[in-house]
């Protein structure tokens, strides 16, 4: 096993431990807990924070289980549980820029449970195609910059921001190199390992992460031979990472994951911030660019939609089918699902919808459904070939 992949897996498995250790070795620095999915972490990095996208943990929800209603998604209920247990005290401030009602509910719990930890909220407009949208996004970004400056007490250094943008772009580019190589069949990393690459990037100091990725690519990736019967694209699952046991199940059922649009996957790394623009303007532009590169159902944009992206991605990767991973009660995803379904059916792309929860996934039932998809695809191919 590759030692670098091991290290990245270790961080992905226990982000809290990494944060605590980082704070120990950087006693004069602060850690910012970032809620997904659109907050420009580069701003926090430039302001001297270690930005960490707060991850769902693997503990059962207990103390915070009843704080949010059962129709909140697993991620937000787990955030509430983490807050109730004091797990989020490792963060010095919280930042978010998304107005998902459930996420705001979790933020309220965090505010209530940690009244002395500041929470900074910026709200990016979701309607991307209005004539006034660019100005409103820029205005909100200026507001976020002011919030970041308020949290540090010093003006943001735009030279440092440009440097942070270059650093983040470098990390994204290295990650994309691995994702592209997987899509093109040049490396065969398990989907669990691919998730670890991205999840660790959301947690680690970027320079440290980049150094590890550069070493990994320089050494070469020792990848397994998949012996897979079918190639699948994983789609969906915003905000938090799908359980790794679920990812392993796909491969155990005879599938190889060749591409994805998961937040803990290609969605997070798809778009660089332009380095030829003034840095804040570039971050503003980034907000628009990433919704074109991998459209999000939480945004409304006339010239970009996720279903078109998905079918194009499947065509490019040559995936035989799609597994749609939907966090239960994720309303934007639920609302767009009929469109995804229609698009896939129109192109006769086999697909399977898997709803996920924080705990209690019926793994054997899921195994039957995934195996049935694999069999459906492979038997159909065998008959077509005969």
């Amino acid at each position: 096993m590759n030692a670098i992949l091991d290290r990245l897996a270790e961080v992905a498995a226990d982000p809290d431990r990494y944060v605590v250790e980082w704070k120990r070795t950087h006693p004069d620095r602060k850690v910012a807990g970032v809620l997904p999915m659109n907050f420009p972490e580069e701003l926090l990095h430039a302001a001297g924070f270690l930005p960490v996208v707060i991850q769902e943990n693997n503990e059962p929800d207990t103390e915070g289980r009843v704080i949010l209603a059962e129709f909140y998604c697993g991620y937000t209920r787990n955030l509430a549980d983490q807050a109730a247990k004091g797990r989020l005290k490792i963060y010095d401030a919280f930042f978010l820029a998304d107005h998902c009602v459930q996420l705001l509910g979790a933020a309220d719990v965090m505010r209530f449970k940690q009244p002395h930890t500041p929470i900074f909220f910026g709200q990016f407009i979701a309607s991307m195609s209005e004539p006034s949208t660019p100005a409103r996004v820029r205005g909100e970004l200026d507001h976020i910059v002011a919030e970041v400056e308020r949290s540090t007490g010093v003006p943001l250094d735009h030279g440092r921001l440009a440097e942070s943008i270059r650093l983040y772009n470098r990390d994204r580019a290295l990650l994309r190199a691995v994702f592209d190589a997987r899509r093109e069949g040049r490396v065969h990393l398990s989907s669990k390992a691919m998730q670890n690459l991205v999840k660790s990037s959301m947690v680690m100091d970027k320079a440290e992460h980049i150094a590890l990725l550069e070493q990994l690519l320089s050494d070469g990736i020792e990848s397994h031979d998949p012996h897979a019967r079918v190639r699948l694209h994983l789609s969906g699952h915003f905000c938090h990472a799908p359980k790794q046991a679920l990812l392993e199940l796909f491969e155990d059922c005879g599938a190889e994951i060749v591409d994805d649009d998961l937040y803990h996957g290609r969605r997070y790394i798809t778009t660089d911030v332009r380095e030829d623009l003034e840095p804040v303007a570039a971050l503003s532009q980034w907000y628009f660019d990433r919704n074109v590169n991998v459209p999000c159902p939480t945004r409304v944009q006339h010239n970009a939609d996720w279903d078109t992206y998905l079918t194009k991605a499947v065509s490019e990767s040559g995936a035989d089918g799609v597994v749609i991973l939907m966090a239960k009660f994720c309303e934007p995803h639920m609302l767009l699902y009929p469109e995804l379904r229609k698009a896939l059916e129109a192109r006769e792309i086999p697909y399977l919808l898997v709803e996920t929860e924080h705990a209690g996934l019926p793994m054997e039932t899921l195994r039957t459904r995934v195996e049935a998809l694999v069999e459906r695809i492979s038997r159909r191919a065998a008959v077509a070939a005969s």
Binding site: P362, T365, T368, E371, A372, E375, R376, R379, A382, V383
Partner: protein, 314 residues
């Protein structure tokens, strides 16, 4: 030794085994009920079917396992999901079938199939036992009757009561509440069957309606369940003579195909037990169900209550 293959379906409550010959004809079959995902049950089914066929395990060209417990079946050449196997089995048993509704002990599935038994689409219940054999067991317990008595009870019901909860646990509470309100057990049984059928219709809608419809699984042995499903679908529902073995039969055929290197519709079209229209032109009777007709009589509720009081299960 002529080529023989065996399919073994280890379901949540029953184990089924089928041996087929080289033309896909059924040589022997067994259904054994012996506890949840029972290893003893599957061993008993295999031993019995081999005995019936006059074969030893080593005489078989392939052994294919399927069902919820497929990974627990020892010494198999490979496994297939019950979705693939039911589709394949039904394509042979009932040529031309387009939609398979399989309701077993713990799960239910709607499978749209093409003409050679390939799965076009499928949907299955998640973790809820609603509409499965388990659900009917809960209903029987709440009504204090034997499972076998449920058919007559439900088919004698007339009034459509509101049974809103489809959770097996909550439904039991609701049934008890209806009994306490003085509602007739016949009407309650019928209403629960209607509610279950509506739930099954939800599964069907996920894969798209298609006809002919074939129902398999242990619940397909229930005349009432088939009747109310047909009524709900507003379409005839075909039930094979042995609705529980279609998965094991499909598995055996897939084993045969893997040895013969081809996929085509071989196998044995079976006698159809009945084609239930779900229509009751004479008020109680099914126009085409010769097997059930004699039993589709109104029940004397007082007599029935007295009889179950004398024969109450522990």
């Amino acid at each position: 030794m002529a080529l023989r293959t065996m399919g073994v379906d280890l379901g949540s409550t029953t184990a089924k085994a089928v041996v087929v010959d080289e033309a896909g004809g059924i040589v022997a079959h067994r259904v054994v009920q012996m506890g949840a995902v029972s290893r003893r049950g599957v061993a008993a089914a295999i031993d019995a079917v081999l005995d019936d066929a006059g074969l030893e395990r080593g005489d078989l060209g392939q052994v294919i396992a399927t069902g919820y417990g497929r990974r627990l079946v020892p010494d198999v050449d490979r496994t297939f999901t019950e979705i693939t196997c039911h589709a394949r089995g039904v394509a042979a048993m009932c040529p031309g079938a387009a939609l398979v509704i399989d309701i077993g002990g713990q799960d239910s599935k709607a499978i749209r199939v093409d003409e050679v038994g390939l799965v076009d689409d499928f949907a299955m219940n998640d973790r809820c036992a609603s509409g499965t054999g388990r659900f009917f067991e809960v209903l029987a317990r709440a009504l204090e009757c034997r499972l076998d008595d449920l058919d007559d009870l439900a088919l004698a019901g007339g009034q459509d009561l509101e049974v809103s909860s489809m959770c097996a646990t909550f439904a039991e509470t609701e049934i008890i509440s209806l009994l306490a309100e003085g509602e007739e057990p016949t009407d309650i049984a019928a209403s629960v069957h209607r509610a279950v059928s509506a739930r099954t219709l939800g599964l069907v809608s996920r894969v798209g309606r298609a006809a002919p419809v074939v129902m398999t699984g242990g619940v397909a042995r229930s005349r009432a369940a088939v009747h109310f499903l047909a009524e709900s679908l507003r379409a005839p529902v075909i039930v094979p003579a042995e609705p529980q073995i279609s998965g094991a039969y499909g598995a055996a055929l897939l084993g045969l195909e893997s040895l013969q290197g081809e996929t085509r519709v071989i196998g044995q079209a079976v006698d159809r037990e009945h084609v239930h229209t779900g229509q009751q032109p004479n008020g109680r009777d099914c126009s085409t169900c010769s097997l059930g007709r004699a039993k589709y009589q109104p029940i004397d509720v007082e007599l029935w209550t007295a009889s179950i009081a004398a024969d109450r299960r522990p």
